[in-house]
Amino acid sequence: MEFPTALVLNAIIAGLLLGGFYAAMSVGISISFGMLDVVNIAHPGFIILGSYIAYIVSDRLGIDPIAVSLALSPLFFLLGMAIYRIYYLCFEKRGQESLRGLAFFFGILFITEVALVLVFGVDYRSVRGAYSETTWRLGPMDFPMRLVVPFLVSIAMVVGIELFLARTFFGRAVLAVAQDSLALRLMGVDTLRVKEFAFALSIATAGVAGAFLIVIQPVQPAIGREYIGLVFAVCVLGGMGSIRGTLVGAFVLGLAESFTSTFAGPSWAPAVSFGLLLAALAFKPSGLFGR
């Protein structure tokens, strides 16, 4: 097997760009599942909802879809708060979060899909930013803006969340809830409020990731299901609850997919990615950055 320099360089670029996108898809799961222990299997459903909202606003008003998703992220935040409140009152408070909570999020995923089918129909939708059909070339390297712009915004978002959690009082409260919720309650902290905020943040990231998705490829209402395995794999590989780990895990899977597709054959990509996940867990069961 030959490894020409141009192919290797482009495989690295493609892997990093893809990893950046995967990080945006997975960072919300890292918060909800990794930190709060809420198995939000509907996360990809919120991503698709984000795609459609970006599509409709962008289509009607001509605004860039990613700018739309950032502007509307407070709405996703509020939606997240409402959903967590329902989840807490109906399941977590009663100690029924394991199985019934899972069924609840499955239900939300299906309801989201059906609602999107009823409102938008079943055809594939996509939107184009002003940059969508532009590719920068630097020597033998290609930088398709369709992937570069989501990558840059994703990195900014994930680093921003990492800094927020590490440097702010409320962020540290979220980390504390993730470590020992009971201890925090004994200290008189309103853990419900902290968890509600963190869950809402995770849904807000899903809305932004949805805009990335519809810029990168056409979307139909049921496409979210295809990403359930991926987002949980990134979260587990990076280490439960570690934002830095999520970013590194996403890059590892992105690079693995890109290199496998380029040099071995794309049909091996899932096997290599999940093989890496298994290997990482065998040597470090808590994930790359897990505690």
Partner: protein, 415 residues
């Protein structure tokens, strides 16, 4: 006691006499699964609209065999595993009189065993070479890919390629890990044997692939003269975008891409489609060859606009209607719903439909194929209206439909 039995029997006879006309009035039920959600729902819903238009047309004329037609259908979610249970329910619970398939190879193949078990005559809607494994004599298929579907499906692309001067020497084959692409690639490999081309890349990719640029770069590294792709709509879009972004250099690119035939992808991809050599079943440039199609499209497009599906309806919808026309004409000619007689009649006779005259071969495929190999040219912007007019879809093969020659290489023809 005797009097009681006699009156009971009399009552039964009277009831059965009363019931006879009621039974005759019962609708003729035609059952099928259709992709109304999932990746191919856009196509499935467009096909369903056509079939509903057909049912309305037939019922307006008094139905078939004096019975109104009723379509009984369920959403197969574009998921082959749902198909066997759907057809079991249709036959055992809904007691449908006839069955037809949903859209596409992936959902037709899993229905075949149950059709064979129940000896049902079964019309397939755009299944590629499904009967090659089953060899079922009551299977019929409405896609015009010819008596050897895998060969016929890929014939246009490879015939066009071998007409180039100088002749191409190498080919790259790539497709999704799914039933249709596997069968299309099988046909492409047969063409490779026939033409003596050398395969320099032959790989598949998982259906949920997001970024196709590593695949296109790997293909480019092999420097093929031709790139044959068998893909579903989202992958087709990904492949075309990646080929444009990377600046794929090859003489011909395309072949078996599902997606560019539909209004949604035509509008979304717009000028990115320029230079692509792919298949179609209709093009405005050859509208004169299908004189009655305009009548159907007028009905379909009005309905599709309301339902928000394939606004053009050039590809699948006319064939969905034609599939039902074949069934209707066969039932009327046979005068019953006898499955053996229907199959026998369909094998022996020709049918007049909106898509032209249809005659089936021994394996239930069209006796003579007429899939169009086309090249998209001169597309500017993303306006859908340009696709309604002639001039943007050059028909390359078959000869009776040819409107122009292929422009090569791909990197020049896409500009």
């Amino acid at each position: 006691m005797k009097r009681l039995v006699a009156s009971f029997s009399g009552a039964l006879v009277a009831l059965s006499l009363l019931a006879a006309p009621v039974l005759a009035q019962q609708p003729l039920k035609i059952g099928f699964g259709m992709s109304l959600t999932g990746p191919l729902a856009g196509n499935g819903k467009a096909a369903l609209i056509s079939m509903q238009i057909w049912a309305e047309d037939v019922n307006a004329k008094g139905g078939i065999l004096g019975r109104k037609v009723e379509l009984v259908y369920y959403d197969d979610q574009t998921n082959p595993s749902t198909v066997p249970s759907i057809y079991s329910k249709l036959l055992d619970v809904d007691k449908v009189d006839l069955v037809v398939s949903g859209y596409g190879t992936n959902v037709i193949a899993p229905a075949m065993p149950i059709m064979m078990q129940r000896s049902m005559t079964f019309m397939g809607l755009f299944g590629l070479n499904v009967n090659s494994k089953f060899d079922y004599d009551r299977y019929f298929q409405i896609m015009p890919s010819g008596p050897e579907p895998a060969i016929g499906w890929t014939q246009g692309f490879f015939d066009t390629a071998m007409g180039l001067n100088p002749k191409p020497a190498t080919v790259a084959l790539v497709g999704a890990d799914a039933e249709y692409p596997a069968l299309a690639l099988q046909g492409a490999r047969e063409q490779v044997k026939r033409t003596g081309l050398k395969v320099v890349y032959d790989k598949t990719y998982p259906p949920n692939t997001v970024d196709f640029s590593p695949i296109v770069r790997a293909i480019q590294a092999t420097n093929p003269d031709l790139v044959y792709v068998a893909s579903y709509p989202p992958d087709s879009a990904g492949m075309i975008r990646a080929a444009n972004e990377i600046g794929l250099k090859t003489r011909m690119f395309g072949g078996g891409m599902v997606g560019p035939q539909f209004a949604a992808l035509k509008a979304q991809l717009g000028p990115l489609l320029n230079g692509l050599v792919n298949y179609e079943t209709f093009a405005p440039d050859v509208a004169d060859k299908f004189p009655s199609l305009e009548q159907f499209l007028a009905k379909y497009q009005a309905r599709a606009a309301k339902e928000g599906v394939d606004a053009l309806g050039f590809y699948l919808p006319p064939f969905a209607y034609a599939m039902m026309e074949v069934l209707e004409q066969a039932i009327k000619a046979v005068g019953s719903l006898d499955q053996a007689k229907l199959a026998d009649y369909m094998h022996k006779n020709e049918f007049n439909t909106y898509v032209g005259k249809v005659r089936f071969g021994k394996n239930g495929e069209w006796a003579q194929g007429r899939m169009l190999a086309v090249q998209y040219k001169g597309i500017t912007g993303n306006d859908l209206e340009q696709w309604r007019k002639p001039g943007h879809v050059t028909v390359l093969t078959p000869a009776p439909y040819k409107t122009g020659n292929v422009a090569t290489p791909y990197q020049d023809s896409r500009k």
